[in-house]
């Protein structure tokens, strides 16, 4: 866990320190989802950034965590035809994550469609062109684009550039974030979006480390910055049974934004303990180890 934090911190420091000339920024995303219904007002398209500094034990989207492309293998669709093994010894290995470089060759060989590459690199103009194809729908519905993930703040240059380009084109941009980033990165991105969905998971620093892999202090500091900025935002908390769903914990989350005029609300989201199907695609075990 710690090396992801370090990685993130290094990344942030680099961003903050540099005064870069404009150049094509590339980012890693794993899904562009149309008609995303719970990611903000109107009809929206959500861009999922790959890579996340947190490791929430209950995470339902394990494929969003690593900041590199990954191979997803749906073993229930595999017919054992062997087409993939002809070109890669590790194609069916259960520990392939150690050797697989996600080159994708096996994906194009699998007649069952059991293999997918999760994550592709793209640049901002390409992505914006695609997103703008549906601008008339955004306009008539009061919708727009939501940056989510994974964690957009984990790829700050790309996220900022994307958000700016979209807003320059008149598109409403929302950001869904875990809030874990340096203050500079956080300000840089939140200052160029229209609406922020800010996830608050666990307030206590120690328990936050235990359940999400990171300290809550920088997250809460960023939340305070957001409160002070006057930018509209919504707090979202997934209610994890036995972890953060006590009335006291919920009240504490609500108190964080009590009296903040730009806080549009606090949403507590129900959590389905049974869902963890995507871990199998990565040959990982879903083990939230909830109390």
């Amino acid at each position: 866990m710690s090396d992801f934090s370090r990685k993130s911190a290094a990344n942030s420091a680099e961003i903050a320190a540099s005064d870069r000339p404009p150049r094509p920024v590339r980012g890693l995303i794993f899904e562009v989802r149309e008609f995303a219904l719970h990611d903000g007002p109107g009809v929206r398209t959500s861009v999922f950034f790959k890579g996340c500094p947190l490791r929430c034990r209950w995470c339902h989207n394990p494929e969003s965590q690593a900041p590199t492309p990954e191979l997803l293998l749906n073993r229930s669709r595999c017919s054992g035809c062997g087409a993939c093994e002809k070109i890669c010894d590790a194609a069916l290995s259960r520990s392939r994550r150690d050797v697989c470089v996600a080159c994708g060759r096996c994906v194009d060989l699998c007649p069952q469609g059991a293999r997918n590459l999760c994550g592709w690199e793209t640049d901002v103009p390409t992505l914006v062109e695609r997103l703008l194809r549906q601008r008339d729908l955004f306009e008539l519905s009061g919708g727009g684009v939501t940056l989510t993930g994974g964690e957009p703040l984990f790829q700050p240059e790309f996220a900022v550039e994307l958000a700016r380009s979209l807003r320059d084109a008149g598109i409403h941009v929302a950001l869904e974030t875990c809030g874990f980033a340096s203050p500079e990165v956080f300000d840089a991105l939140t200052s160029c979006v229209d609406l922020v969905y800010f996830d608050v998971k666990i307030l206590d620093p120690e328990r936050s480390r235990r359940w999400t892999g990171v300290d809550s202090a920088p997250i809460l500091a960023n939340l305070r910055r957001l409160c002070a900025s006057g930018r509209p935002f919504v707090v979202r908390t997934p209610l994890i049974p036995g972890v953060n769903d006590s009335p006291a914990e919920r009240a504490a989350v609500e108190r964080l934004v009590d009296g903040v005029p730009s806080a549009l609300g606090v949403e507590f989201l129900p959590y389905n303990v049974a869902a963890g199907a995507k871990y199998a695609l990565l040959d990982r075990r879903f083990d939230p180890d909830l109390p």
Binding site: V32, R33, E34, F35, A36, L37, H38, G42, V43, T45, C81, A83, V107, D108, L109, C110, P111, G113, R133, Q134, D136, L137, L140, S141, G143
Partner: protein
């Protein structure tokens, strides 16, 4: 959210759903009852009328009233007399093409005109015209008018027997209603509904089938207005009456003919514009949407005309109905359909009055004698044929994909030639009662079978998306990447991508499946779709049919999505042998589709005004969409987007695959589970397995994922 049905209607609905009315049914031995049939060569109309009259006279013997109903008339005779003997049918088919059952069908009768004036007035009109025909010794006219007159008299006898029975049973309201209609014109909404019921019921007894209801809210608005003005009804009372009227479509529907149970053509249209183009939606539009949601039954099938002028409020109400998963409403976009119909030669005022016939074929009430489903072209079969041709090999050798596309275009023209030729001798048996309800037929003294204002032929187009995906796969795999020659590809397709016999088959299949597909707003496949439908339109443009009409190509598949798929081996898009096509105008089954927005964008790109026979873009939404607070609003925005982008017709379904799978395993638990099939809604557990399976395949790609 609409209030539930009243206690009275809940009981009536339960009665009908339990099919308790079936207890009143009996079979009639028609061979014994009709020993001497009218001569088919000299008295075709008499032949039609004698069957109708025999059924109605049988029915007049046994009036039936369901508990607490206000709109009467229930079938008790299960079987109808056949129009022709098998030998006669065979003889007819020798000399001409007889379509389907060979009678007039798939039209939208003008019920409104007769409901307004009553059968006495229509009868007088027939009598007067008959005298003229007799003076002129017009044998055909005499046959038609005599038959029509006798049919009207049989309806009047049936209505009178119901009236007398109602009176005797103390059913005062029904007796009073039947004292007015059908003899005289309706004055109230209840009378108008009862009148419609009598006419519609009689059409089925004539052997006519798949005749639409027409523009419900336009037909009945004057009666509702009169009732509201006189204080006889308020909004709730009117909705209850509409709900009861809708229930009446479900009492006998299991006796109606169709490819599958539910395929009965009882479709109605709501909304749209008047003859000047102004928005004509009214209170009945809303009440119909609400009443349908209260009933939650498969009939009548609800269609809604929309345009850029449609209020967002109405779209939200319609989406609220979509939420219930009945497959209603199906949308038609006036902004595309009306210009499309005028291009085909329909007068503007007629085009503005369009409705659907049975499923989604656009027809004009009263004046359309079109045969909107006369034949179908299979686009994937055309791609397959071209790939097999020596010219395709030549094109591949020259690396000239445009030449391949030119071959495809020529193949569509060749298929159009073939179909047009097969329809040069076309025959249809008359339906005098349908004709009575078609404008100008009495005046012309001719049955609708012999013509009408519009006598066009509709041509379905099956498998647009699989054909486009196949063309694109050929472009990439054969031309751009040169992975496979046309001849080798054909061998691999015939072997269903068998990797044992063809070492490259597995990779070819994997590659084919992963190529961009129509439905993701991708420029390359979508450009092929634009071209394919333009070629299809061109292939029919300028042809005249044997009745003097034109051909109307469209994007519908009807049931051909299974039939045509079964005629083909595997296809270049990666579809394996035995896998069905999508129904109507929709992405190929099982292909990666990002969402409904891209689907609408892709499928709206072709010029749909030129392929306006009908055939909806079909989208499957996961029913969890509506679990979100603003799910209805967002789906309604999608409908606006469809209108804005120039879609012609759209079917939005709310489905839940897990529930469908469970229903296949435990049908007894899901007797009332309703699904959309190809242009109608039916009970899932009553469908044959291949239709169920295709719906399950469709449900694999629902939005949001």
């Amino acid at each position: 959210m609409t209030a539930p049905l009243s206690e009275r209607l809940t009981a009536l609905r339960d009665f009908i759903v339990a099919k308790k009315q079936a207890a009143f049914r009996r079979d009639v031995d028609w061979n014994a009852a009709l020993p001497n049939r009218a001569d088919l060569t000299t008295a075709r109309c008499a032949r039609a009328a004698e069957g109708l009259i025999a059924v109605l006279d049988e029915e007049a013997k046994t009036p039936v009233f369901l508990p607490d109903e206000r709109i009467a008339l229930t079938r008790t005779v299960r079987n109808l007399p056949p129009r022709c003997s098998d030998a006669e049918t065979a003889e007819l088919r020798k000399s001409a093409y007889l379509h389907e059952l060979g009678v007039v069908f798939n039209v939208s009768p003008n019920y409104a005109a007769t409901i307004a004036v009553g059968l006495d007035a229509r009868r007088a009109e027939i009598v007067e015209r008959l005298e003229q025909a007799q003076t002129e010794s017009d044998a055909e006219g005499i046959d038609f008018l005599t038959a029509t007159l006798a049919s009207v008299d049989a309806i009047l006898r049936l209505a009178e027997s119901y009236r007398a029975a109602a009176e005797q049973a103390g059913l005062t309201e029904i007796a009073e209603t039947l004292a007015q209609v059908p003899r005289r014109g309706a004055r109230t909404l209840l009378e108008a509904f009862q009148f419609f019921r009598i006419l519609h019921y009689s059409l089925w007894c004539e052997g006519a089938y798949h005749n639409g209801v027409g523009r419900f809210d336009q037909i009945f608005a004057p009666y509702l207005d009169a009732d509201l003005a006189a204080g006889r009804l308020d909004r709730d009372g009117a909705r209850e009456l509409v709900a009861e009227f809708f229930l009446s479509f479900n009492r006998d529907s299991d006796l109606y003919v169709g490819v599958q149970q539910g395929d009965n053509g009882q479709s109605l249209m709501l909304g749209g514009c008047d003859s000047t183009g102004a928005d004509a939606s009214n209170l009945l539009t809303e009440l119909a949407l609400e009443a349908c949601g209260q009933n939650r039954l498969i009939d009548p099938k609800i269609n809604l005309r929309v345009s850029s002028a449609t209020s967002f409020d109405l779209l939200k109400k319609a989406t609220d109905l979509t939420r219930l998963g009945l497959g209603f409403p199906q949308y038609a976009n006036d902004d595309v359909v009306i210009p499309g119909l005028t291009k085909l030669g329909y007068d503007l005022a007629d085009a503005r009055d369009y409705t659907v016939a049975a499923c989604w074929e656009f027809v004009i009430p009263g004046v359309g004698s079109d045969v909107p489903n006369v034949a179908a072209v299979s686009f994937p079969a055309a791609v397959d044929a071209v790939l097999r041709s020596p010219e395709a090999t030549q094109a591949a050798e020259n690396n000239d994909f445009d030449a391949f596309l030119a071959l495809f275009r020529a193949e569509l023209f060749r298929r159009a030639d073939e179909i047009a030729e097969s329809l040069e001798r076309f025959d249809v048996l008359p339906c005098p009662l349908v004709s009575l309800l078609c404008d100008g037929r009495v005046e012309a003294a001719r049955d609708a079978a012999s013509g009408g204002k519009y006598v066009n032929f509709g041509i379905h187009g099956t498998g647009v998306a699989p054909a486009v995906d196949s063309l694109f796969a050929i472009k990439r795999l054969v031309f751009d990447e040169k992975r496979v020659s046309p001849a080798r590809f054909v061998e691999i397709l015939d072997a269903d991508f068998d990797a044992e016999r063809f070492p490259e088959a597995a990779e070819l299949l994997a590659r084919a499946r992963r190529l961009p597909k129509m439905g993701n707003d991708e420029p390359e496949p979508d450009a092929l779709a634009v071209r394919l439908l333009a070629d299809f339109a061109d292939s029919w443009e300028g042809r005249r049919n044997c009745r003097g009409g034109v051909f109307r190509p469209g994007t519908g598949s009807a049931m051909y999505y299974l039939w045509h798929a079964n005629e083909l081996p595997a296809s270049p898009d990666g579809r394996r042998r035995g896998e069905p096509f999508p129904a109507n105008y929709a992405p190929s089954l099982g292909v990666p589709i990002r969402g409904p927005v891209g689907v609408v964008a892709s499928f709206a790109k072709p010029d749909l005004t030129r392929v306006v026979n009908g055939g909806p873009l079909t989208l499957e939404l996961h029913d969890s969409v509506f679990a979100f607070a603003d799910g209805v609003e967002k789906v309604a925005r999608l409908v606006q987007f469809f209108v804005k982008r120039g879609g012609a017709q759209m079917q939005l379904n709310a489905v839940n695959r897990d529930r469908l799978l469970d229903a296949q395993k435990n049908p007894e638990k899901y007797r009332n589970l309703i699904v959309r099939v190809w242009g109608w809604s039916g009970y899932f557990v009553e469908l044959d397995r291949p239709y169920q399976d295709q719906i399950l395949r469709r449900a694999e790609t629902t939005f949001p994922t």
